[in-house]
Symmetry: none
Subunit: 198 residues, 4 copies
DNA sequence: TATGAATGAGTTTTCATTCAT
DNA sequence: CATGAATGAAAACTCATTCAT
């Protein structure tokens, strides 16, 4: 009835799910395939997760939770808001760069889920977007960012750009160096692409 | 064996698909439901489309083709590259604003499809991204945009921002005025969000 | 969504279900087995029945409906209430005697279903029990049956006796002649088993 | 390998099974649920019972054995065969009246089992039916019952009537007083429902 | 051209039972 | 004696596609 959310198998199953989904695609990732990859029986998955959807949400929550925690840790070590934003972008690119499987899963496969599941994924993302918002507020307070900014739009520009760039990297089979794009992306976001001759 | 890509039923089926998918969601849009909405028999759909995937791609191609054509027409009436970019954004927002069903389908539902289908959708989008690219080149040529820009990144920033904003509007049940965001988005893209006191 | 309740396959599937259930038992009567027996595909069953439970209820309703109709027709040709009761018992025994498969299904297998399904079966049986009741009332009116009878108890005695006898016959692999028991059962119900010497 | 059929946990598990089955129904009475109700581990049940079927049969055997023993004890204190039959009916109704859970289990839930299990239940019932038979023989010997009775039919009438009445009482949520029906049922069985004016 | 009845492959989840501790 | 984590077999149902009419 209730499920265990701890133990070595819990982690093992989530990692197996990432591997299988990255390799075979979301719609070809049957429970039995994930179980085989994890080295457990099909039924064992249901000792740790309520159902398949619960496994997918847990996957996203675990991975994204750690993702955000690490990002926050790094940002706190920066002083200027510009450096903080740069760190956010760098961490985003870096963390997905070192885990191609996870990148495939979050950028492509997990978006194929139904509205309901994506709504729950959206809740997890909320914390990340709030982090972005806090940076924007800080930039405005410190008079680094324009005081009249529409927070929502800025947030969508930052997230939309980072996300689109990452997806593009994944769809190009991780062929180029994603982390190298952090600086130019950061510069473009802050300064726009207008040519200022002076 | 081969299918007809013309005739009044061809259009009727595509429009029925948009309506059904917008209303019931991608995974609840069975061929039989679309056929009923279109007022034809299930089998008739296969006279006009090779299979379900072909119907979805055709849907996207037809709708997006018109979308891009109209956008290009409007852009050509502008002279400065800044106005052209503003027109691109305005047209994007405007065309989805007037067709809520289409917006739901392109922003949410059609993204739940498998990798293969999305690759084909990507091909259709290519023309749009090339249009964006041409604007960037033009801006650089005219010394309005910075000469050292990484075209790819700028393209992703423009498209990512527009797309994220539109998706956000759809997920908020079209509650706010999307077209009103064209100007601030345009301004942010070109000038960034840095505060220039002078 | 909605199902067809007519056509030759409708009957064929119901008869196949009776055969399969009688032969393999309720819990070994998978849809695929019934479909094979009926000479149709698994999916075809779902064109005629909402789900497996609906098939079982329909089976009982069709068979029992005909059973009751025939019984009523015969009873109406009798004049005295005693003959009517005898006819009821005779028809009950006769109709199950000629259809061993149906007898197995109604007496043994269909009783293994869950409470919900049996509640619906109970509704079908209601008509039969009301028929029994009407005979009791008639007997009392005509002063053939005792005026102080508790209708409910008498009904349970009649039905319980007939049902228990039939079940016993089925569990004995239909070895004895069930129809021959109609008269003695009828006599016992009406006169009891007291010895009246005079 | 072999199981223990004694000890406090043996009783506790059987009682837990009765409670769980009465409350949740046969098909929702998993071993784990029964174990929890009994306050033991799932595996412990297999120290006392060979398997789930063995538990159910043991349940029926224990409860029915006591039921029959008590009934025989009471009957032996009666002298006339009519009083003995009345006592049989009274004891049947009384013992199930005071244990609603057991009544639900024996009248409704345990009948949902497969043919095999019910065959074994039938064996347990045999002793009860033999008791009924002995009363019938006694009645005939003492010239209280008719000498030409077909024992088997009479037995089925007695048991069928009692059983049908009890089931009806359970399905009516024990709303009426079952024990009050012993006398009228007894009277009807012996005298039938014919009206004898004199 | 158009129909729509028929097909049948494919997957999540439950739960009795085991056995290492 | 007792535990409870792990096992893995088994089945109802959906729906894209076909094809005889």
């Amino acid at each position: 009835m209730t499920v265990k959310r701890k133990g070595p198998k819990y982690e093992k199953i989530i990692d197996a799910a990432v591997t299988v989904i990255a390799k075979h695609g979301y719609h070809q990732s049957q429970i039995s395939k994930i179980a085989r990859e994890a080295g457990v029986a099909d039924g064992t998955i249901y000792l740790y997760f309520k159902n398949k959807e619960d496994l997918l949400i847990s996957l996203f929550r675990e991975k994204m939770g750690r993702f955000i925690d690490t990002t926050i840790d790094e940002i706190e070590q920066q002083h200027s808001v510009e450096d903080k934003l740069l760190t956010l972008i760098e961490m985003h690119f870096k963390q997905l760069s070192v885990d191609h499987e996870l990148a495939i899963v979050t950028q492509l496969e997990l978006r194929q889920t139904n509205r309901e599941l994506r709504a729950k994924i959206g809740e997890v993302l909320k914390r990340y977007l709030e982090l972005v918002d806090s940076l924007i507020y800080e930039g405005i307070d410190e008079k680094v960012f324009h005081p009249d900014l529409d927070i929502r739009i800025v947030r969508q520009m930052i997230f939309g750009t980072i996300d689109e760039t990452t997806t593009s990297w994944v769809m190009n089979d991780h062929r180029f160096d994603l982390t190298a794009l952090a600086k130019p992306v950061h510069d473009l976001l802050i300064n726009g692409f207008r040519y200022r001759s002076s």
